[in-house]
């Protein structure tokens, strides 16, 4: 215990305290900006922390990790876009809360949940790290496969009344995730022989496209209707009240923390899987399941508590075994080695222990700082909702471009983001939500790797089925999957047996738009035909490719074709049965300014390679600011639009270019 004194002294050294606070604040900002992720920020900071002492370096990098994990919730709640993959489940209830004028509550819940999850996670890390490290080694290839499958069953509870559309979306997401080199065989698939697609579809690019772009277009639709409408009205004492509301959900906080830590410990799973699984469990444990997805604060708590608990979870195998539990931890691993620190026993004895425990203690403080910033700034963030759409919407669009570009310095990724965005927007119109697609993109690789590695391993162990279905931990995961899929049926059966009334089916929500009426036939056709086309193209691409490379995309395409055929059959039957129901074009008022915004957005992305980021962004902001403004107020607003555009471009340059040193897309001219 001789490390205790020096470690505590280190944490409270003034320089370290200041560094930690700045790191947490910077991490929150990075996390909140879609496209800039904690992983990226930590990696970019490694060279700057290299000259510092190992303690100071780890304190700063850990602070960014913690801050960024919470920061992702801010954009998830305010603009329906996960700022980082781990905040995806936060959008499910966080954004509906914001649209109901409860943004501040959602933000407080996120900050409190993150803080509690992080603190409990740190306690686990401090006392149980070596004992829990063993858990991380229990996961072999078959377990990863089942973990991926279990995660994908969340689609069923996300789209309860639209299970086939959810399934179609999830499969499409899995398919997207398989583009490029197979991680296990190194063979290329679905690349159409192009080099750019060899790199595959980055998760973050997919997330921005799937969430940000449709959101921007929906804002354009609603621009006129919401003219002068304030979405957020500040109210005294709401923050404090929310804080106590969250603490009263202690069951949820503890359950989500446990799920977060355990999933975090599993190498390669991390905060995104933790948030999703904990959301799923919270829905299952709740009485009023129908309120989820419509602004239930418990959903926000579950997701955010778990993903911050996963931060500390991912450090357990890193510090004890030298195996990072998450991508962020992988970058930290590099930093540890650079400072001459070898994870394992060395980190828990002698001089190494001082560094390790300084780091762990600093995580307590990092979580407290994050909580303090989050709680006190919730009201400030929430005010963003009251910005006029014609000024806010182009900023989000520009952020999407920077974010999509930043990961790989690739203009191709910007185009990919916009393409996926338009597809997702079209999908929304026919009742296909973005979340299942995103789940497929995130969980597809975990499942595929598990399956293909199991196939390779089964050559030695004898029999793939034996390998997949006989290992104890696999059986647990299979049982969880079965419960997850069958739970609604079990509940129904139980209630019937007890003679209770079965709840009447809820009315379709806005999200599941045209599930009945004349639009339905058209929607089914719009889902079925592209689905079949995609399946045929995929099969064509998969010809002459090794089984292990082709199995996951091939099976996904087969399932897509079955579901698509189902939609087409249903469409044909409804068409024959009912009166000719042909798609009626959406009324002018429904579409609002979306078509114009779409044209500007596409032109924006196409012009960047010519004119560079800043000139094009300035132009796009002027055009959108003008188009989306109320026609009678345009002239009066002109100076405000120009001023905002100039300020935003300057802010982009300062924040991204100078502080984070993120590159911008360059054009031929500028």
């Amino acid at each position: 215990m001789e490390w205790l004194g020096p470690a505590v002294a280190n944490v409270f050294a003034l320089g370290n305290l200041l560094g930690l606070t700045a790191a947490v604040a910077g991490g929150i900002l990075v996390g909140a900006l879609p496209g800039l992720t904690g992983t990226m920020a930590i990696a970019l900071m490694v060279p700057f922390t290299y000259p510092l002492s190992p303690e100071a370096a780890l304190i700063i990098l850990g602070g960014i990790y913690v801050g960024a994990m919470y920061g992702g919730s801010i954009s998830a709640i305010l603009i329906n876009t996960p700022g980082a993959p781990a905040a995806i489940a936060t959008t499910f209830d966080g954004y509906p809360m914001a649209t109901q004028g409860r943004a501040e509550e959602a933000l407080c819940a996120a900050a409190t949940g993150s803080g509690v999850g992080g603190l409990l996670g740190t306690v686990v890390l401090l006392f149980f790290a070596p004992a829990l490290a063993v858990v991380s080694l229990k996961f072999g290839p078959p377990e990863y496969f089942w973990l991926g499958v279990l995660g994908l069953t969340i689609i069923a509870s996300l789209s309860a009344r639209n299970i086939y559309k959810g399934l179609l979306g999830g499969l499409f997401g899995v398919l997207l995730s398989t583009v490029g080199l197979s991680p296990s065989t190194g063979e290329a698939r679905l690349t159409f022989d192009t080099t750019n697609l060899l790199g595959g579809v980055e998760v973050i690019v997919a997330l921005i496209g799937l969430f940000c772009v449709p959101q921007v277009l929906i804002m354009a639709e609603e621009a006129r209707r919401q003219e002068g409408l304030l979405l957020f009205k500040p109210e005294r004492g709401r923050t404090l009240r929310t804080f106590f509301v969250v603490l009263r959900c202690w069951g949820n906080l503890i359950r989500s923390s446990v799920i977060g830590v355990v999933v975090g410990i599993i190498p390669g799973a991390g905060g995104n899987v933790a948030g999703l699984l904990s959301y799923q469990e919270t829905v299952r444990a709740a009485r009023d399941k129908d309120s989820f997805g419509k602004g239930n604060i418990e959903g926000v708590i579950a997701s955010e508590t778990a993903n911050n608990a996963a931060v500390e979870g991912s450090l357990v195998p890193l510090l004890t075994l030298g195996i990072p539990g998450a991508p962020q931890a992988a970058v930290l691993y590099g930093a540890l080695l650079l400072h001459g620190l070898r994870p394992g026993a060395e980190l828990f004895t002698g001089q190494g222990a001082v560094v390790t425990y300084t780091f762990i203690f600093s995580l307590f403080l990092a979580n407290l700082i994050m909580f303090a910033i989050g709680i006190s700034a919730s009201r400030v963030y929430a005010r963003l909702l009251n910005l006029p759409t014609n000024l806010l919407m182009p900023v989000i669009l520009a952020l999407s471009v920077v974010g999509a570009f930043a990961g790989r310095n690739s203009s191709f990724d910007v185009g990919m983001m916009m393409t996926l965005g338009l597809v997702a927007y079209g999908g929304l119109k026919v009742g296909l939500a973005a979340a299942p697609i995103a789940l497929g993109v995130i969980l597809g690789p975990i499942m595929e790797r598990g399956l293909v590695e199991s196939m390779m391993l089964s050559r030695a162990t004898g029999g793939l089925l034996d390998l997949l279905f006989t290992r104890p931990l696999s059986l647990v995961l299979i049982a969880m999957t079965a419960i997850s899929l069958g739970w609604p049926l079990i509940v129904k059966g139980w209630n019937r047996w007890r003679g209770r009334d079965v709840a009447p089916p809820a009315k379709p929500t806005a999200e599941t738009a045209p599930s009945d009426g004349p639009g339905r036939v058209a929607a089914d056709v719009w889902l079925g035909v592209p689905g079949l086309v995609i399946a045929v193209v995929v099969w064509h691409q998969l010809a002459d490719i090794e089984l292990q490379t082709a199995v996951v995309p091939g099976v996904s395409a087969a399932l897509i074709s079955i579901v698509s055929l189902g939609f087409l059959v249903r469409a044909a039957r409804n068409r024959l049965r009912g009166p000719a129901a042909i798609a009626r074009p959406a009324a002018e008022s429904e579409r609002g300014h979306a078509p114009a915004a779409m044209i500007v957005a596409v032109a924006y992305v196409l012009l960047i390679p010519l004119a560079g980021f800043f000139v094009t962004t300035f132009g796009a902001m002027l055009t959108l600011g003008w188009v989306l403004a109320a026609p009678d107020k345009r002239r009066r607003q002109l100076s405000r639009i120009v001023l905002t555009a100039a300020l935003v471009c300057a802010a982009f340059y300062l924040i991204f270019g100078t502080i984070f040193n993120v590159p911008f897309p360059k054009g031929l001219l500028f």
């Binding site: 190194g186 063979e187 970058v331 394992g344």
Partner: protein, 329 residues
């Protein structure tokens, strides 16, 4: 309407300006006549920030900047196991203002084996090779079945395909080393490809595979848990005095991942030499050597000619492995 008009005028002048730029690019001034380097040098890293190649560049940059007198701008273009970045390098102007971290066997194997890869090995001109990561075979220390490499071979001979060995990827440094080993030993071993060194290490720690063929840098970390049965170097490594080389055991197996720097083919020789001198200087600095050794790299210093010879020799070696294994005709 005012704004829209302005916008149109903007586009028109943009088009005009594009034409001017296009013409000026099409008629380049004679290369080599002017000063070099005349602007910041882009250092392309075809992998993610935070990875091993990135770390090497972080450690090289200060020395390079000192020697060349211009900024060294790190540019990450990950994707396709490096293929996206090397394709970009191959298409770059050969004026010495862009260089890239380059790994063998990747740049030899990808053009041969991966559909959609558009660059050729010859499109990249060697500048300098700074490190090797040799491969080797390790098992769990508490696995009494395999005390020596011979135990492993005997087990594989008695139980064809029953021995599982984890590696990273296919047709990678690990996998090619593995293929050479099984070809030389005449055994049938089941290869399981993991998605990186961390999952590979975890798989052996968790006993999901019986052995791994991996980089020696991961063995250094796991001294207490792993037993190293053989290493693919010419001589024993100071880090592992007890681990024999394959050569000692009668297998002519030397290799792993060779790490260097290349520029687009066609870059003038004097510029390549200038860059090589700068890297030699940067790679000789204490910070670089310390940092790289902590990460488990095995440092070397090969200039352009030697590096070119190494690439040639490796290419022949890999072609033979692939042909013998039936992967290439």
């Amino acid at each position: 309407m005012k704004t829209l008009n302005l916008h149109n005028v903007g586009i028109r002048s943009l088009v005009a300006a594009t034409a001017i730029v296009a013409i000026s690019v099409a008629v380049p001034p004679a290369i080599g006549a002017e000063k070099f380097p005349e602007k910041p040098i882009q250092f392309l890293i075809p992998f993610d920030p935070g990875g091993q190649s990135d770390t090497a560049v972080i450690l090289l940059r200060p020395g390079l900047k000192e020697k060349l007198g211009v900024d060294i701008v790190a540019q990450h273009r990950p994707g396709g196991g490096g293929a996206v970045g090397w394709t970009m390098l191959a298409q770059e102007k050969p004026d010495g203002h862009m260089m890239a971290v380059t790994n063998l066997p990747h740049v030899v194997i990808q053009p041969l084996m991966t559909k959609g890869v558009k660059y050729k090995t010859e499109d990249l001109a060697p500048v300098y090779m700074y490190a090797e990561s040799p491969g080797g075979i390790a098992v769990r220390k508490d696995d009494d079945r395999f005390k020596t490499l011979q135990d492993l071979i005997d087990f594989a001979k008695a139980n064809p395909a029953k021995l599982s060995m984890g590696g990273v990827g296919k047709f990678t440094g690990n996998h090619l080393g593995f293929l050479q080993f099984v070809q030389m030993a005449g055994v049938d071993v089941s290869y399981v490809s993991f998605n990186g060194a961390a999952p590979q290490t975890a798989a052996l720690l968790g006993s999901h595979v019986m052995a791994i063929y991996g980089g020696t840098f991961i063995f250094a970390d796991k001294r207490d848990e792993f037993r190293v049965l053989a290493i693919a170097t010419d001589e024993r490594l100071p880090d592992f005095p007890d681990a024999p080389t394959f050569k000692e055991l009668g297998f002519d197996l030397v290799g792993g991942i060779d790490r260097g720097v290349t520029v687009p083919a066609g870059t003038p020789k004097e510029r390549i030499d200038m860059l090589a001198d700068a890297i030699r200087y940067a790679a000789g600095k204490k910070e670089f050597i310390d940092g790289m050794e902590k990460l488990g790299f095995h440092l070397v210093n090969h200039g352009p000619e030697e590096y070119a010879k190494i690439i040639q020799a490796r290419k022949l070696q890999y072609l033979k492995v692939l042909k013998d294994g039936g992967f290439l005709n």
